[in-house]
């Protein structure tokens, strides 16, 4: 697979079906400089933001954030650090609900579901990390409970929180949609 094909693959499939052939034609005619490649990648990201479901984008962002935190936690355990971890994570979950409601004028339940899905996707990386670590941590015990109990407990709490934040996000998203409707502005991307 050539670099040009890889760059094209960075775009969402729906966009590629519509414009991929034309962009491939232009890339074949131009010298592929670093600037041109960066331009294609940045605009591929913009198309993902425009076309992909908000829960997928927020879920990917959350997964990245959690993994970065787990790496950073190797070096710091301060309370401020933990506060950043939780507040940023919950803000991303809130954004998934708000974005869903604002973009498609979806109902509150759909927005809350989007937040919950973003939370599940976001935690997938951490779950994999846990699965890798568990064989070495099976002797872990806190308040008489093993690591499996605490892993499920954390997941349940996170999901419940994400639904609550999804509802809040939906209300926020509806207000944004109403505000944008009153401004009567075309969507820019």
């Amino acid at each position: 697979m050539t670099l040009r094909n890889l760059l094209l693959r960075a775009y969402p499939r729906s966009w590629r079906d519509e414009y991929g052939e034309e962009l491939a034609g232009i890339l074949a005619q131009k010298r592929l400089t670093f600037g041109a490649a960066a331009d294609v990648l940045v605009n591929a990201l913009r198309q993902h933001f425009h076309r992909d479901a908000p829960w997928k984008i927020c879920g990917a962002g959350l997964a990245l954030w959690f993994l970065m935190y787990r790496l950073a936690a190797l070096f710091s355990h301060s309370r401020t650090f933990l506060l950043w971890y939780w507040s940023a994570g919950l803000l991303i979950v809130l954004a998934a609900g708000a974005w869903t409601a604002a973009r498609s004028k979806a109902g509150i339940l759909a927005a809350a579901a989007a937040s919950a899905k973003a939370a599940v996707i976001g935690q997938a990386g951490v779950v994999v990390l846990y699965l890798l670590v568990l064989p070495w941590e099976s002797a872990y015990s806190f308040q008489g409970r093993g690591i499996y109990y605490w892993a499920l407990y954390t997941l349940a709490i996170n999901l419940a929180l994400s639904v609550v934040f999804g509802f809040a996000g939906a209300l926020l998203g509806r207000s944004i949609a109403r505000f944008r409707g009153s401004m009567d502005q075309p969507t820019r991307y």
Partner: protein, 100 residues
Amino acid sequence: MTAGPGADPELLILSSLAGGPKHGYAIMQEIAAFAGVELGPGTLYTAITRLVDEGWIEPLEASARQRPYRLTPGGLDHLRGQLEKMRQLASFGLRRLRTV
């Protein structure tokens, strides 16, 4: 892309298509010639996507890998309106400059 006044990719594409239907590569070349702006391929197609979604341009029958685009009546009105605003701004600024 070289930044500068009038370097809005969408306006540049609409201006280029005002001269007749063209495909993406021809639009890029013409913009580089008349505005001195090098649009990146990604920037060009993000702008084309938005213009199609807004209904300001429309694709024609594809020839080989390239599909030409043409201005719609709505796109023509939009371009006219935008250029008129720019003309008003330019004449206001030039009038002010004469008093400096």
